[in-house]
């Protein structure tokens, strides 16, 4: 089987991190590369490696330049030493198709107090709220990355018929579990934070699980299926957790 040729370009993010760029834009093929290179680097770290953050089409790698310098001979900068290590690894990435992705069902109570922007989103597209719910829960979404807040999934693949711009004035406080739309993305707020996404519903599930390992319900690569539930079902879920 021919190897999938992966091209990586490196750029410094200051003196203690660098970005491994694996493509442009948002698509599942590039995301697969991000996943594969992240896994390989996690399993084959260099001296001075601290951690990495995978994103849509790149990986940010954090390192300690002092350890990189003292553990590797040579006059070049720590950036060059780390970049060489990663380039060497990237050459070894095989086009291994990962085992089939997990599908995680997320129950969502749409509209009403829990989804105050559902009506606006429907009006914006000349639809009924029911149509928005049907479309949002119709297709599976892909979790590309976690960021912004612990366990916050940046998801792609939402049906573009309900793509809606952010609110002009962000809310000062959005309750945990809120499901929102921002442009072509959909996401779920794990903690109470300010935010400008259009809130169309809420899930009773906890996305941030600080005492578990890993500490988040969702992981990059997960397929998400939103399942509409009624307000009384929402309350039942909430009670079950206590």
């Amino acid at each position: 089987m021919p190897h999938q040729q992966i091209k990586a370009t490196m750029k410094p993010l200051g003196d203690s991190a660098l970005i491994v760029q694996l493509g442009e834009g948002m698509n599942p093929t590039i995301h697969e590369k991000v996943k594969n290179v992240s896994e390989l680097l996690t399993n084959h770290p260099f001296e001075g490696f601290i951690e990495l953050v995978p994103a849509y089409n790149n990986i940010t790698v954090y390192y300690n330049p002092y350890i990189v310098h003292t553990s590797q001979l040579g006059a070049s900068t720590a950036f060059v030493k780390v970049a060489n290590h990663i380039n060497h690894l990237v050459e070894q990435v095989k086009s291994s198709k990962n085992e089939s992705p997990r599908t995680v069902s997320i129950p969502v109570c749409y509209g009403g107090e829990l989804g105050p922007d559902l009506e606006n989103v429907a009006q914006y597209h000349n639809m009924t709220p029911e149509e928005v719910i049907q479309i949002h829960s119709g297709e599976e979404c892909l979790v590309y990355m976690l960021g912004f807040a612990p366990g916050f999934p940046f998801m792609g693949g939402m049906d573009t018929r309900i793509a809606t711009p952010r609110k002009e004035t962000p809310r000062l406080s959005i309750p945990p579990g809120s499901v929102g739309i921002a442009g072509k993305q959909t996401g779920i707020y794990p903690l109470e934070t300010p935010g400008g996404w259009q809130i169309i519903g809420r899930t009773p599930l906890d996305l941030f699980l600080p005492k578990m390992s890993p500490p988040t319900l969702l992981q990059p690569g997960d397929q998400i299926k939103f399942v509409p539930i009624s307000p009384s079902e929402y309350l039942e879920y909430k009670e079950m957790k206590q």
Binding site: G14, G25, M26, V53, A55, P65, F148
Partner: protein, 328 residues
């Protein structure tokens, strides 16, 4: 062994070097704003250099010691007193049972650190004791300290015990030349590397940033420093997907006014990155008082690394020197 909080001050939190390894889950790093002061405070009492300390902001914090204790205070000079007498900074100090330590107000800098021999005895959360207030985890019950809180202190290391024995030894010059590491000047020059989207900004912005002064606004906090000064603009508008950011990343939101990401920054960001403060200058930046003026200077990656390695060598030498004096 414990410490009682008599007055919480403006913002007092438990912080160590930070929570690493969890950014990929969206968990922020947190940790000390001025990592050099944190590490030196710990070294001066014989702790591991990444042990948790208290980070005290600007003024007001008052603590009472319920036992004799070995401590070190570093960072900003807040006119600190022990039972009314000025407390020495940047050296190990033995405080007696029932004595009261008070941080009056910032004369210099804006963050002070107090390390206790034995460290702060609280559970780690995701491998760190740092406080993450928004998620209510880490530190003391996931929040800033309040009046009446009691903090337990851990067991002293053999190094701490040895330090205690030699505190009065006049042959040991207990002093750290912290000016080698941190610039407490009023109008510091902060060194900056080009950011990943530097080339996307117009020529004028690329020059102005390094020529004109910027002011640190009062809307600045542990999460980010909001600056006020000449607006910076892109040559042409473009959309950026969210990606990893780091301590010292200079982001430019649509307003054109720069934001520098600090210890409690989000893990990812989607604003164009104009520049990146070099790691060696982050502690100086952390010590700036609100409304201070800052000037920026562009340096190369090679220069940034050279300063960083020099500072690490300085800290390494200090550790070795303390060890040598105590055990020879």
């Amino acid at each position: 062994m414990s410490i009682k909080v008599l007055h919480s001050g403006l913002l007092t939190t438990v912080q160590d070097i930070g929570r690493y390894g969890y950014q990929k889950y969206g968990v922020i790093v947190s940790g000390a704003m001025d990592s050099y002061s944190l590490r030196l405070a710990n070294i001066l009492v014989g702790n591991k250099e990444n042990e948790a300390t208290l980070e005290i902001t600007i003024y007001g914090t008052t603590l009472q010691f319920e036992e004799d204790m070995l401590i070190a205070i570093t960072g900003g000079d807040f006119l600190t007193t022990i039972d009314g007498t000025i407390a020495p900074l940047w050296r190990p100090v033995l405080v007696k049972k029932n004595s009261i330590l008070k941080f009056h107000s910032a004369i210099k800098g804006s963050r002070a650190y107090i390390a206790f021999a034995g460290g702060i005895d609280i559970p780690q959360m995701m491998e760190s004791k740092s406080t993450y207030i928004r998620a209510s985890i880490g530190g003391f019950q996931g929040r800033a300290l309040q009046k009446g809180d009691k903090l337990n202190i851990g067991v002293k290391s053999t190094l701490s015990e040895a330090l205690l024995q030699h505190l009065d030894d006049k042959n040991i010059p207990w002093s750290v030349n912290f000016n080698e590491l941190i610039n407490f000047k009023q109008e510091p020059i902060i060194r900056v590397l080009e950011g990943t989207e530097f080339d996307r900004f117009d020529k004028e912005s690329q020059q102005t940033f390094f020529q004109e002064p910027y002011t640190l606004t009062v809307q600045s906090d542990r999460m980010g420093y909001r600056l006020e000064g000449p607006s910076l603009s892109l040559s042409e508008k473009f959309e950026l997907l969210s990606e990893g950011v780091t301590f010292g990343t200079i982001q430019i939101p649509p307003s054109g006014q720069p934001i520098i990401l600090m210890a409690d920054r989000q893990t990812t960001g989607g604003y164009p990155k104009f520049g990146q403060v070099i790691s060696a200058d982050l502690p100086s930046l952390a010590q700036l008082q609100p409304s201070s003026t800052i000037r920026f200077k562009e340096v190369s990656l090679k220069e940034a690394e050279t300063v960083l390695l020099k500072n690490e060598q300085f800290i390494h030498n200090l550790k070795t020197a303390i060890h040598y004096k105590l055990f020879h």
